[in-house]
């Protein structure tokens, strides 16, 4: 904490003081960087190495280099493409619904004449709750033998929600939406707070309707916050695992890519094949992130980190 005076950047040759400051800075950042690299970059390289070998812990003596065979096996399997389809479907639908609901929620928190505190508290509970707990709560709600949902009017008493592909996915998406809409809403609320109220006053004076004000002022000015929220939620939705594990464990063809990877790696102990799945998921996420960052362009100072 001694480098107080040196905080101004110096021009010209590097002085001893600057050197000392840099040394202190690197010492301070080193532990966090090592921790982050140790659990991400090294394991990913390790996963790439494993994915090029046959490594099945049930048959250790058969291990050996197999080149791209594991990737061929994954990419030609229906299970993988089913998983990619499910994951993409869950991500797209849940993020789309969250965007609409989150916007509504953000507007309520931003504009409500009273009760903002109550709404904020109520909103933060789904955000904070353990995902597995939320998944169980919804699972029990839709469970035909004890859930209240089948008791509601217009719903068949014996509707087996987890007995078919579509209804299972619908419940999974619902649980995801309930859990993560608050996060979307809070990021949008932060964006709303940066918009100058004067703009609305001016538009009102000029006779703009509420709908026009929303589409001509709010949405365009909210675009950076919107894209950041979308980026984080899309990537997060793409990792969907907990809800599916609790509700169906992948039955009725509801496996996401993460469930698929888990089954290969942990249930079947096939590290080679599982690592190929892991690396492919990594590449997919990288691709999605790349597209979003291109969309964001330089419209925000920097995509900011949440989660």
């Amino acid at each position: 904490m001694t480098a107080v005076a040196a905080s101004k950047a110096k021009r010209g040759p590097i002085s001893d003081k600057t050197k000392a400051e840099r040394k202190l800075a690197y010492m301070l950042v080193a532990p966090a960087i090592v921790a982050m690299l140790l659990v991400t970059v090294y394991p990913i390289l390790y996963a790439i190495a494993l994915s090029l070998q046959k490594v099945d812990l049930r048959f250790p003596q058969e291990s050996g280099f197999v080149g791209l065979d594991n990737y061929t096996a994954v990419l030609t399997s229906d299970l993988w493409w089913q998983g990619v389809g499910n994951t993409a479907l869950i991500a797209v639908i849940s993020v789309a619904i969250e965007l609409v609901l989150g916007m509504g929620l953000a507007l309520i928190m931003h504009k409500a004449l009273f009760g903002r505190g109550v709404v904020r508290t109520a909103t933060l509970i789904p955000y904070g709750i353990v995902t597995v707990v939320a998944a169980f709560a919804w699972f029990f709600a839709f469970d035909p033998s004890s859930g209240f949902v089948n008791n509601l009017p217009f719903i068949a008493d014996d509707k087996a929600w987890f007995g078919s592909h579509n209804s299972s996915l619908a419940v999974i998406i619902m649980a995801e939406v309930w859990k993560t809409t608050p996060f979307m809403a809070l990021l949008l609320l932060a964006g709303l707070a940066t918009i100058d109220e004067g703009l609305y006053e001016a538009a009102r004076v000029d006779g703009a309707t509420a709908v026009q004000r929303f589409f001509k002022i709010t949405l365009p000015l909210l675009k950076p916050a919107l894209l950041v929220a979308l980026l984080f939620r899309t990537l997060d939705a793409f990792r969907v695992f907990d809800s599916i594990f609790v509700m169906t464990r992948g039955s009725q063809d509801t496996e996401s890519v993460s469930i698929l990877g888990y089954n290969q790696l942990i249930s079947r102990l096939n590290l080679g094949l599982g690592s190929a799945v892991s690396v492919l998921i990594f590449v997919l996420v990288l691709g999605i992130a790349f597209i979003f960052v291109r969309l964001l362009g330089t419209s925000t100072p920097a995509g900011q980190g949440e989660r």
Binding site: V4, E21, R22, A25, Y26, L28, V29, P31, A32, I33, A35, M36, V39, P43, I44, A47, L50, A112, L113, F114, G115, V118, V119, A122, T123, L124, I125, Y127, I129, T131, V132, V133, F136, F140, S146, F148, L187, A190, G191, A193, A225, V228, L235, F238, F241, V246, Y262, L265, I266, S275, S278, I281, F282, T300, P301, A302, G303, Q304, G305, E306
Partner: protein, 280 residues
């Protein structure tokens, strides 16, 4: 905004009521289930006709061998240790980024951002294999290490945003007034930095408390299994009774700390979540 008629009040009341209703619906449902007796657990009613605490007490029968006590202790300790380490490391990093002049700042922030988006499933396999070799499989450090890694980006972003707002000149001013560097740091800077550090700590704790994927892949027994993982492997009293009531009770118990956090620290949580996004 002059014409705030009673119509507006009705409109907002309905909107707020709908939000609160849906936010609390599953929680009320699981709480109701947790109080039901085995005979009434399938009655599909919101208000239990027969209230019992058996679902809670059986979770702790048998002390450390009980279904929930060990996982609960594991969850608390692992989340607390991960939080302390993550916030300490993130404070060092954020201090350097906010205060010191050195090349590579933006690379660190970009790298942290990349890790925030990283798919955890991609490192589960390698970590599973590495931890078994290193003897970290099914241990506390085996979970603490990935938790602190994946919560560091959030903690760093929050703390950088907070530290940039601190008027650091006050530290010098205090020293000019005769305070030692330690006193200046202790009396002036620490109170100013504390809210940010605390906010980061709450969010890191929630992250570690919530994790499921590492908890089920890197543990194999109650030695280090946390509550979310234990919940997924709960067994009924016999193979014929589904442990719905017990799962519901355990779910309520792990939700209580989160609700308390939210009630007490909601402003901080919102500030923390949005700190990075707005201030950058």
């Amino acid at each position: 905004m002059q014409h705030r008629g009673s119509k507006d009040y009705v409109k907002w009341t309905i909107a707020i009521a709908v939000v609160v209703f849906f936010a609390l619906l599953p929680i009320v449902w699981i709480f109701s289930l947790s109080l039901k007796t085995p005979d009434t657990i399938s009655d599909k009613k919101f208000i239990p006709s027969d209230v019992t605490l058996d679902n809670y007490t059986t979770l702790f029968e048998g002390g450390l061998d009980s279904p929930l006590l060990r996982p609960l202790i594991n969850s608390i300790l692992i989340a607390l240790i991960a939080t302390v380490i993550a916030v300490t490391l993130a404070s060092f990093t954020a201090y350097a980024i906010a205060r010191l002049d050195f090349p590579g700042k933006s690379a660190i922030l970009a790298g942290a951002l990349a890790i925030a988006m990283f798919p955890q499933i991609s490192v589960v396999g390698p970590l599973f294999d590495m931890w078994r070799t290193l003897g970290l499989y099914d241990t506390y450090p085996g979970l603490i290490i990935p938790y602190l890694t994946f919560s560091l980006p959030l903690a760093i972003y929050i703390l950088v945003a907070f530290f940039r707002e601190i008027p650091w000149e006050l530290e010098q001013a205090a020293q000019v007034d005769g305070a030692t560097p330690w006193q200046a740091f202790r009396r002036v800077i620490m109170p100013l930095a504390a809210p940010g550090v605390f906010t980061a700590a709450i969010l890191v704790f929630i992250f570690a408390w919530n994790d499921f994927i590492f908890a089920i892949t890197l543990t194999s027994s109650d030695a280090s299994r946390t509550v979310p993982a234990a919940l997924a492997f709960f067994q009924g009293d016999s193979q014929f009774t589904a442990p719905t009531g017990n799962i519901a009770a355990a779910a309520v118990l792990v939700t209580i700390p989160i609700i308390i956090f939210v009630l007490i620290f909601q402003r901080r949580i919102v500030a923390g979540l949005t700190a990075g996004a707005v201030k950058g």
